[in-house]
């Protein structure tokens, strides 16, 4: 079997999905801290009426960057980039992603786009028209300077990374499953990532087109959004939300996937109504493409249009309720052990239901038109995004910590961190419902006294501090556990899926022997695991002639062929770097330099497609 190259160079040139997953993990944690700091500054500003911790100009940049960061630079890269990269090949019994070098390229582009967009904040030119960036406010006329150009280019740059990741996941899930893992024997985690990846692939082009139009309007003089010259301000909103609503499901469906792995492990029971849950995970993303205009009910669209989108919004409820009751029934009929990961999942179900119920309210169009753009909506989607996407991420960090590090985390501080975060987020987000109903609009850098908004805002700010303490306890617990934790062994939870069949941390090649799979809960099929051990001893199905990987048929998971996978490569990081140069040149309007940089990219691509010496067949 092969080994990774040691040292820094090994990390820079790696194509190992686990190393790339860890790079994603650390990078997104840094960006999460940045987005969290932005939120804390805003909450401190709003603690009391008429406070001026920051002025309106800084505040506008803060809420814009908070939204961009948490959506594009924390949750998507954390779920798909970190959790998906690390775990998905392990769960389907593969030795790597389908396109390892493309995977590395995704990461370097993601890192480049993160540095690119945060540069704007440090030079005081951060995007300031909201993450939704409505025109005409974002046009050059009302927002001169580079702030919105940073937004457009940063989003396009980041979108390339997400697109590559999504394509890679889809091919990996369809083609790289261990022989025997037919579609119906795939863990629910994989269904969730398949759904999210299809979602990304189809949603992102709309946003990319939108931001390209805006960049051209601002810098080249086109008139896509210029009403006076025959453009349309509504075009931006439609294209944005055609991406923006599927995006919500792209954020939470991978979190559903994490939940559907933690629940079986801690209840020792297969998920109730498995086929329904699998279909629901795919359906929620599919139907999610038909509801975008419910973000635009107050724009004065014709009543018939509004009602159509309200009906679609009503239908998208059903896949979610199916999953919620399936999770709850698994809790009840299984033998639930309320360890930290399961506590986070129980908290996630509570938060998701609370946020989902206010979401259902928005299908009543008049009510939506009354409370849209108020704190009621902020409350709703933070229950969804923090409660339903971030809680499972935290739960997943605890759950897979032993697998990734080989150490056990400390249980008591884990439970303390859960309760701090759970109480903190509820204190942070619940009063937002009330203050929104009392008429407080979003995106206000301060608010007057005398409207009754003070007490709720104070509670929210205190809640944000408690949440922060909880997250610090969580991180500290994991750091201390890394150095002081007890050895975990391969399978501390008696988990259900294939990653628990291999040592912790997993070796470079993941599976010494290609595993046999006959259900979605492969680690509980003891006869299969026994057979794997026999095969390993006999040297059958080991594939040790270099960096080899079996490829199977998409539906039946039937043995198709054995392919040779690429090893370490310098081309992904070089291509990422070249792309970063291209975007910087575009930002600075250096068109000649831009042409040279594109030529440079073509050269790198030549290298990429050339023969590479394959490394170390130890």
């Amino acid at each position: 079997m092969w080994q990774s190259r040691p040292g820094v160079l090994g990390w820079l040139m790696t194509t190992d999905h686990k190393r790339i997953g860890l790079l994603y993990f650390w990078t997104t944690l840094v960006l999460f801290a940045a987005g969290g700091a932005e939120a804390l500054i805003m909450r401190t500003q709003l603690m009391q009426p008429n406070q001026h911790v920051v002025g309106p100009s800084v505040y506008d940049q803060l809420f814009t960057m908070h939204g961009i960061t948490m959506i594009f630079f924390f949750i998507i890269p954390m779920t798909t980039g970190a959790f998906g990269n690390y775990l998905l090949p392990l769960m389907i019994g593969a030795r790597d992603m389908a396109f390892p070098r493309l995977n590395a390229l995704s990461y370097w582009i993601f890192l480049g786009s993160g540095i690119f967009i945060y540069t704007s904040l440090f030079i005081g030119m951060a995007p300031n028209a909201g993450w939704f960036d409505y025109v005409p406010l974002a046009n050059a006329k009302f927002d001169p300077g580079h702030a919105i150009d940073f937004y457009c280019l940063g989003i396009i740059f980041n979108g390339i990374s997400s697109t590559l990741t999504a394509a890679n996941f889809i091919v990996t899930i369809l083609k790289m499953r261990a022989p025997g893992m037919s579609f119906n024997r795939m863990p629910l985690f994989c269904f969730a990532f398949l759904a999210a990846s299809w979602g990304l692939l189809f949603a992102l082009p709309s946003l990319t087109a939108d931001t390209i139009f805006l960049f051209l309007d601002r810098n080249v003089g086109t008139h896509f959004f210029d009403v006076a010259r025959g453009g349309s301000a509504m075009l931006w909103q439609h294209l944005f939300w055609i991406f923006g609503h599927p995006e919500v499901y792209i954020l939470i469906v991978p979190a559903f996937g994490i939940a559907t792995e933690i629940i079986p492990a801690f209840t020792q029971r297969r998920v109730v109504a498995f086929p329904l849950v699998a279909v629901a995970e795919l359906l929620v993303v599919f139907i999610g493409f038909g509801v975008w205009a419910h973000h635009m009910f107050a724009t004065g669209m014709p009543t018939i249009t509004v009602i159509f989108f309200a009906a679609a919004t009503a239908i998208v409820v059903i896949p979610s309720t199916i999953q919620v009751f399936a999770w709850c029934m698994t809790f009840i009929t299984g033998n639930a052990r309320f360890k930290t990961p399961l506590l986070f999942i129980a908290g996630f179900i509570f938060m998701f239901v609370a946020g989902g119920l206010t979401g259902i309210m928005f299908l009543a169009v008049p009510f939506d038109q009354q409370v849209t753009d108020t704190y009621f909506v902020i409350a709703h989607f933070h229950y969804i995004i923090f409660g339903a996407a971030v809680f499972p991420i935290f739960g997943g960090m605890y759950f897979w910590f032993p697998k990734v590090t080989g150490k056990l985390y400390f249980e008591l501080p884990g439970q303390i961190s859960f309760w701090l975060i759970f109480i903190g987020t509820n204190l942070l987000f619940f009063p937002m419902h009330i203050v929104g109903l009392e008429g407080m609009p979003r995106r206000n850098y301060t608010y007057p006294a005398g409207l009754g908004w003070g007490p709720a805002n104070l509670a929210e700010t205190i809640g944000s501090y408690i949440t922060t303490v909880g997250i610090v306890v969580l991180m500290a617990n994991l750091v201390v556990s890394y150095f002081r934790g007890l050895p975990a062994g391969p399978d501390p939870w008696h988990g259900a899926t294939l990653e628990w069949t291999i040592p912790s941390p997993p070796p470079e090649y993941n599976f010494a022997v290609i595993p046999k799979v006959s259900s979605a809960y492969a680690n509980w099929d003891y006869a299969d695991r026994e057979e794997d051990r026999r095969k390993l001893a006999a040297g059958v199905m080991v594939l040790e002639q270099g960096h080899e990987q079996p490829v199977s048929s998409p539906v039946d998971g039937w043995w198709a062929e054995i392919v040779e996978m690429p090893h370490d490569s310098p081309w992904p990081i070089l291509l990422g770097l070249a792309l970063a140069v291209v975007f910087v040149l575009l930002l600075l309007h250096l068109w000649m330099g831009f042409c040279f940089a594109v030529a440079g990219i073509l050269l790198v691509l030549l290298g990429w497609h050339g023969e590479e010496p394959q490394e170390s067949e130890a």
């Binding site: 309106p56 100009s57 506008d60 409505y134 005409p136 406010l137 009302f142 009403v227 301000a233 509504m234 029971r269 109730v272 109504a273 329904l276 107050a298 724009t299 004065g300 009543t303 509004v306 009602i307 309200a310 009906a311 009503a314 059903i318 009751f325 399936a326 709850c328 029934m329 698994t330 009840i332 009929t333 033998n335 639930a336 129980a346 509570f350 239901v353 609370a354 119920l357 259902i360 309210m361 299908l363 009543a364 008049p366 009510f367 038109q369 009354q370 753009d373 108020t374 929104g436 109903l437 009392e438 008429g439 609009p441 995106r443 301060t446 007057p448 005398g450 409207l451 009754g452 908004w453």
Partner: protein, 356 residues
């Protein structure tokens, strides 16, 4: 007597009527906070003063009750799981890999598909079949009058078609009258929103969106721009004064008239300052040569109670401070700080205060 509820600043009377009425209005406004106490202030969805807003609020209370029921159900299931920890299935064999699967399916299909379908269908019919008829844009023929609301960065301009009346930030309508409000924008997207009277409507460039404005009883209702529109989105408030029909028509006649000529020497000097200085390049005062259109029409500035999108009360000292230091009160607004001598400022304020 004064009350402060609903105003962004303390000690401002809501009544600036004509002199004989002032005392009655003050007494009435003193009673107002009592009636509003406990209703959550004066920009509250939960404190409706019209039938469209009332229908939405009633719908909300029903939805909230159902939602709490749903949340209690799920919480109950999770708590039940905690009590049942250590037990698998419902009397099933503990070694069964799927204990209680059949009952689970019944719950998932019944509670996860059938029940929510019934709930969302009922909500859909009530919300989008019944209530939407009350809140959607009114048929023009069903309304008695039209008001144009024009969003600017960052104030509201109100026009009364058919008259010459133009005002800013403060809109007057007659009580129990169906008003056709036409919302447009002079620059970016804003959103007209007075929650106690109706839902919101965005102002979209190139479009004339409409909404019904109706109030059951006289009073002052606070509203605010609800769509992020730039640096001072925060200070883009408005007040809707709902008056008896007679009082409203008297007000409208006054607003439609050109500005009163200055009477004292000080006011005349102030008018000179206004017309010769930078003021007139951005502001209009009908009846004078000032024809600017960047800032609000100031023809009847003194009849307003507030300045700068409800940033400050319209009183002498605040007005003076606004003229020389608006960038401190409302950073980034379109009006530059004016550098005026003490005497000039005094005269200018006296003139503006005379524009009843």
């Amino acid at each position: 007597m004064r009350h402060t509820q609903g105003y962004p600043f303390p000690g401002l009377s809501t009544s600036r009527g004509t002199k004989p009425r002032r005392r009655i209005a003050a007494a009435a406004s003193a009673l107002l906070p009592l009636t509003l106490a406990g209703c959550g202030g004066r920009q509250s969805v939960l404190n409706p003063h019209s039938h469209p807003a009332g229908d939405i609020t009633n719908l909300f209370w029903v939805m909230m009750a159902v939602a709490f029921g749903g949340l209690a159900l799920i919480t109950g299931l999770l708590v039940l799981a905690w009590f049942r920890r250590g037990r698998r299935g419902f009397g099933a064999d503990a070694d069964d890999p799927h204990p209680g699967e059949r009952q689970g399916w019944w719950v998932v299909v019944g509670m996860g598909v059938v029940f929510p379908l019934m709930v969302v269908t009922a909500l859909f019919i009530v919300g989008n079949g019944v209530i939407i008829g009350v809140t959607q844009a009114p048929a023009a023929s069903s309304t008695a009058m039209t008001v144009d609301a024009i969003g600017h960065q960052w104030y509201w301009e109100f026009r009364y078609p058919g008259t010459k009346a133009v005002t800013a930030d403060e809109l007057h309508i007659p009580v129990r009258t169906r008003v056709n409000l036409v919302a447009t924008t002079a620059d970016v997207i804003h959103s007209f929103w007075v929650p106690e009277l109706n839902r919101k409507i965005d102002t979209i460039p190139g479009r004339r969106n409409r909404i019904l404005l109706y109030a059951n009883r006289p009073g002052v209702y606070r509203g605010q721009c609800a769509e992020y529109c730039g640096l001072q989105h925060t200070h883009m408030g408005m007040l809707v004064f709902v008056q008896t029909r007679a009082a409203f028509h008297a007000w409208l006649r006054g607003q439609a008239a050109p500005a009163a000529a200055p009477t004292t020497a000080l006011e005349r000097r102030g008018e000179q300052v206004f017309l010769s200085g930078p003021c007139s390049s951005c502001h209009t005062i009908r009846g004078t040569s000032a024809r600017g259109f960047v800032g609000p029409d100031l023809t009847h500035l003194a009849s307003r109670t507030t300045l700068g999108g409800l940033t400050i009360p319209n009183r002498r000292n605040y007005l003076a401070r606004w003229i020389v230091d608006s960038q401190h009160l409302k950073p980034g607004n379109q009006m530059p700080n004016l550098e005026l001598g003490r005497a000039q400022l005094r005269a200018l304020v006296a003139y503006l205060e005379s524009l009843k």
